[in-house]
Symmetry: C2
Subunit: 189 residues, 2 copies
């Protein structure tokens, strides 16, 4: 997606350790117009898939998921990273290892909101190792829901996430795939 | 806001300890159409205030903030609850006590995205004790930004949050104010 690639080149910042900061427009400050363009493109890709629910994970996927859901006219469900008092015990749970923080955390969704009638599009801002998305796929499969695909804003194509997800038999579409970030220079696939 | 009150009566669940669960449409599963109606109402309330930034806090405020930002044609900034590796040191920081979890956590925003030229509308899903919003107001004031007001979906009117915020000289608008939830019966103001 040209608009997103141009924005990454203009405002993204590359740090040592293959860290790409896009927090001026995607995951701290959010450019809602850009999110609308992303949502429109995701709708084009998944127009005929019968999507009736969008699943993401807190926090930085929520904005993209909500804006995109407007194009699909369906609800958003966001998986929570910790168990809160306000959620009853009837949850699907999986464990996810954070690439960014080096920790393992539980991810839950209420059983009330995910079931075998759902055709789920999973959305997130980033795909690198793929651990969060694999966790979300696991939650869907526990619920008997169908995962129609994973739509991602930015993929680090030099990390194994998309391959790991496709090995699970799940479609992956990343709107911008970065092949390398050597010496601070971003190259797209 | 009648539509929101009706939805709370239809789908909200009251639990002991004045806990109101609205996770079927507001803060776990999200009804994006309802969020659009909420955004439109917030725009009506703050149409003439020169809002150029919407500030919220992760996670459950992000959806409302992003949908509402479409009506204001401005970016969203969401404050983060923990310091991540991906954020540089140049942050404004404040401490917030969680009413739900009984813990104290740090909240940060990058100094890059909040400054004295900003006219900030703060948005959140819930207002009870007001601690999170007071923290967000503190972040804005550290940055020299003007807070034009706080727009909230649901206020527990029997808790002191809105009074505490008004004592700081900040306008508060809650789209649904609950006066009592005794014996599971929700009464609006």
């Amino acid at each position: 997606m040209k608009l997103l690639e141009e924005r990454i080149l203009k405002d993204g910042q590359v740090y040592p350790g293959s860290i790409l900061k896009v927090d001026s427009f995607l995951n701290h400050q959010i450019d809602v117009k850009l999110l609308n363009a992303i949502g429109e493109e995701i709708k084009r890709l998944y127009a005929d898939c019968g999507v009736n629910k969008i699943l993401t994970i807190e926090s930085s996927g929520i904005g993209i998921a909500c804006i995109t859901a407007q194009f699909f006219d369906c609800p958003v469900l966001f998986a929570k990273k910790t168990k809160t008092k306000n959620i009853a015990n009837a949850v699907y749970k999986t464990s996810v290892k954070s690439f960014t923080h080096g920790t393992v955390y539980d991810v839950i969704v209420s059983k009330d909101f995910l079931n075998k009638n759902d055709k789920v599009l999973i959305i997130d801002d980033f795909l690198a190792e793929g651990n969060a998305l694999i966790g979300l796929i696991d939650l869907c499969r526990q619920a008997g829901a169908e995962v129609v695909g994973c739509a991602i804003a930015i993929e680090k194509g030099f990390q194994p996430g998309s391959s790991r997800i496709r090995e699970l038999g799940v479609r992956v579409d990343s709107l911008a795939v970065i092949d390398s970030m050597e010496d601070g220079e971003i190259k797209f696939r």
